[in-house]
Symmetry: C2
Subunit: 312 residues, 2 copies
């Protein structure tokens, strides 16, 4: 079933120990869409400026992503410049130019209104909530956020969390959200804020899913009681970590949206596909690797992830 995603479509200038690239096509919604497009139909809601031209549009079109919800407006697209020179696990931001994103008012095409899966990528929680409200048919809603919204926009964020089926955040964000350094206690604290299921991403060490007794109730599946951990792939070279988390979310949610039934087993496989997509994303700068990927490569790597973790 189709996923609608709302989030940023942006240009990123990135420096890592592997080199430097100017104005890569990026943004959370871009990474998410490309990753999810290998599993199901994807519809994007975003805003771009005049610097987003046919070449950028073609990247989405090549993956059959519905771009009718990408609004084109006067001005420049969201621009981010950052580096990972000291630490591949944490970006150092040099420039954040919101540009056309500063006044973003999501407009949802009528053709999107039957979306049963909704992903609220990392944007202002006020906008996340608004999109959620105008897509009441969405039966499974997942979302992301970041330190900035946790710290300075907490009340609005808490409203969004209440309505989420799955929240995907990293270790630091889970700790910030609950002021608790223990992963299990922090996870319980986050689940108490509303999300039915929590996925905590650990960067090069994978991701852990924690379930409340309300997990999956929305879709009639039976809840899973114990946590589940997907590994990350030990990689020779992480060329560019940008977008790894959004690519995880795309693989995870894309796989879930393609299933007939949302069983605990489907959820566990979705976690693996999330890690698989994250592992590809970091192999090249920006979204380069996701653009040229094939489903065959994805399934081959899924088997590698299985061998990495399974006893038999």
């Amino acid at each position: 079933m189709a996923i609608t995603v709302v989030g940023s479509v942006a240009f990123d200038s990135i420096e890592t120990p592997s080199g430097r690239k100017e104005r890569c096509l990026g943004g959370a919604a871009t990474y998410f869409s490309l990753a999810a497009s290998f599993f199901t139909d994807v519809r994007v809601i975003a805003v771009v400026g005049e610097d987003f031209g046919p070449d950028e549009e073609a990247v989405f079109k090549a993956r059959k992503i519905d771009t009718r919800g990408i609004e084109h407006t006067a001005g420049k697209s969201f621009f981010w410049e950052g580096s990972y020179l000291d630490n591949l696990n944490e970006a150092k931001t040099h420039i954040t130019d919101l540009n056309v994103f500063a006044t973003f008012e999501p407009k949802i095409p009528d053709a999107y209104r039957d979306s049963e899966f909704l992903f609220l990528a990392n944007i202002d929680p006020v906008l996340q909530r608004r999109v959620r409200e105008v897509l009441p048919l969405a039966k499974l809603v997942a979302g992301d956020t970041m330190n900035y919204w946790i710290k300075d926009h907490r009340p609005a964020l808490l409203e969004v969390l209440k309505g989420l089926d799955v929240l995907l955040i990293n270790d630091t964000e889970a700790r910030m959200l609950t002021s608790n350094n223990n992963l299990v206690q922090a996870a319980r604290g986050v689940l108490a804020l509303g999300p039915r299921t929590l996925v905590v991403k650990h960067g090069e060490y994978g991701a852990t899913a924690f379930f409340s007794n309300r997990s999956f109730s929305v879709t009639g599946g039976s809840p899973q009681s114990h946590p589940f951990r997907a590994p990350a792939l030990p990689l020779e070279e992480v060329v560019d970590p940008t977008g790894a988390g959004d690519s995880f979310a795309g693989g995870f949610f894309g796989y879930l949206a393609a299933q007939r039934e949302l069983t605990p087993a489907a959820f566990r496989r979705a976690m693996f596909y999330g890690s698989v997509m994250g592992s590809f994303a970091v192999e090249r700068f920006g979204t380069e690797r996701l653009q040229e990927l094939t489903r065959h490569e994805i399934d081959a790597r899924f088997i590698v992830f299985r061998e990495l973790t399974h006893l038999d």
Copy 2:
């Protein structure tokens, strides 16, 4: 088959966010022995002072550990005082009193000489090598080390590494040993120094095994080509992380020593048992939890680890 372990038997005063305990029975050889004793016979080589009395002896005896290789001498046992107040992943050392350990000359009882499994816990690599040389029948030799030996005793350490079937170290140590921050590249660098197999421990994120094409050749098993990752258990409360790595090593090596054949499948299960024993060790101060543990609890937790990671 029996394992001989050489290493420290010590008293530790430990402060963590959960509290403070004075003079817990500790030391790498103690944690290792207790953990391994649930799987196979264990023989210890160490030195203790007059403060090591019948109560301490009884801890080993209760687990049927052979203590004939623990030399009693005048003076005080090795004493360590440390805390984990800011960071449960890294101890802050306040006091290290080597005491009787400063002049330790390992003496190997004749009854130990048929040991086919040898574990060289974290001590001076010169002593590790000496013990290895007087136990030539050991067909599988594993070992540990730490930043101090890597930094200031590199030539002696490199001699030990050449002869190891399995080296168990943590992320920081792997990076120090190779001056490389990428886990996969660091692992290849460590394997090039001699160990046939490398296990890198990631603390709360588990451990990853890397294999060379010489892995297991010593025992005729077929080598495993791809890495294998065992998770750690997400725990509500880490009461005291001291000895987690040594307990991992004890579970891992103890399980291996109990197998008829050292197949890749046995190795993977050994990694899980290592993580299981590490997860118990941190639940109480010092070796308290290992002392009261049962094999039934161990096997029940093994199943939890399987559920945490396996798709089906």
